[in-house]
Symmetry: C2
Subunit: 220 residues, 2 copies
């Protein structure tokens, strides 16, 4: 495993380092706000050399978006072992978040800079993204049918709500912070599934979290 960060990674080809660096800069300054010169400098080559590896600036953005969505598709591709839909959903949600937080630059760029793609490419990326969304939604529907998820809200909005909850984390998550990706995933899933309301005033039963997702108190 390569634990180095950013575009200065060793063991990567120049082309790969350009992609990593592009994600870094696009996230930090936006696509339009990033210059190919900055990127070249970050990677340690001249501006002209960049065009030996990449057709143009937009190619970098497109590759990034596709890679991010492939990440997600891979996470969502869970073999059917007959598990309870709610469990599968939890796996998908938490897997998605971990993946997205692992490659924040890439995923943040994908989420905010789709608009900067040419119409053709934008359409292709959006279609790919919609496939992922549909996949998650279908599991939500199954969970509703299995009586594990409330059915009084349209699955469309349950899906959107889940992505809401997870996506925005990409913009504030700090890998050096007090909580790991996994811990945040646990908490957010519990908020989504169990809600934040305090359990009904004790009927001499355990407070909650026994059957729930058991997010533990995180101090800080």
């Amino acid at each position: 495993m390569n634990d180095q960060q950013g575009a200065a990674q060793t063991g990567l080809s120049t082309g790969e380092r350009l992609l990593v660096g592009a994600a870094e800069l696009f996230r930090e300054k936006g696509y339009a706000g990033t210059t190919t010169r900055e990127l070249s400098a970050l990677v340690g080559i001249q501006n002209a050399s960049l065009y030996h590896h990449v057709g143009g600036k937009e190619d970098l953005l497109y590759s990034l978006c596709v890679a991010a969505l492939d990440d997600v598709a891979r996470v969502f591709d869970i073999p059917d072992r007959g598990e309870e839909p709610a469990k599968v959903l939890e796996q998908m949600a938490r897997g998605y978040l971990e993946q997205a937080l692992k490659d924040r630059d890439r995923h943040a760029t994908m989420l905010t800079e789709i608009r900067s793609l040419s119409p053709d490419r934008r359409a292709a990326v959006v279609a790919r993204r919609d496939e992922n969304v549909a996949r998650l939604r279908s599991v939500i529907v199954s969970a509703q049918e299995a009586g594990q998820v409330r059915a009084d809200i349209d699955p469309k909005y349950l899906t959107l709500a889940l992505f809401n909850l997870l996506n925005w984390s990409i913009f504030w998550f700090n890998p050096d912070g007090e909580l790991t990706k996994e811990e945040i995933g646990k908490i957010l899933w519990s908020v989504y599934f169990d809600g934040v309301a305090a359990p009904a005033p004790a009927r001499t039963r355990k407070p909650r979290g026994t059957k729930g997702s058991g997010a533990r108190k995180a101090t800080g």
Copy 2:
């Protein structure tokens, strides 16, 4: 009430129309991706005329951010009538969302383009934003102390989770869609407060939503 949309509004001064137009374009193409020429054209003046009203492009972004955060501060400034903290929190959350969805361009720009501000201005805007966050957080703490909100999760993350849930809506909400701002607010609040888990297998009680926030089934 002025029901016209966008920068072509009548009854607004040129300066105000520049702000509206800037929000529109910044949201659509990003700050760096928007040219002052486009903005001038949208408002119907020459590029040079813009500088009679505004010091420069960045001034527009700064004004936008401050205005958006002032919106929020106003919504969060709820007089203490001794209401239950959880009710105050609901009011804040739903009020915030309605405000943000009403001025999506402005709020989306504020959320994604803070990075494009000069360091001084960025710091000022971030400080202002943090005040709003702190205000909401303090109500969450009160709700925990009152036993209305679960206390096994750090209020910091309950706060972040709520903003997650609300903020991302700004990017997909469609005013011409099937649900109104208010309906989406109802749903998202219910997801946050009650969770999406189906109520415990009927013990001959009503399904749920009686004591909860009562999001009704939205078809579509």
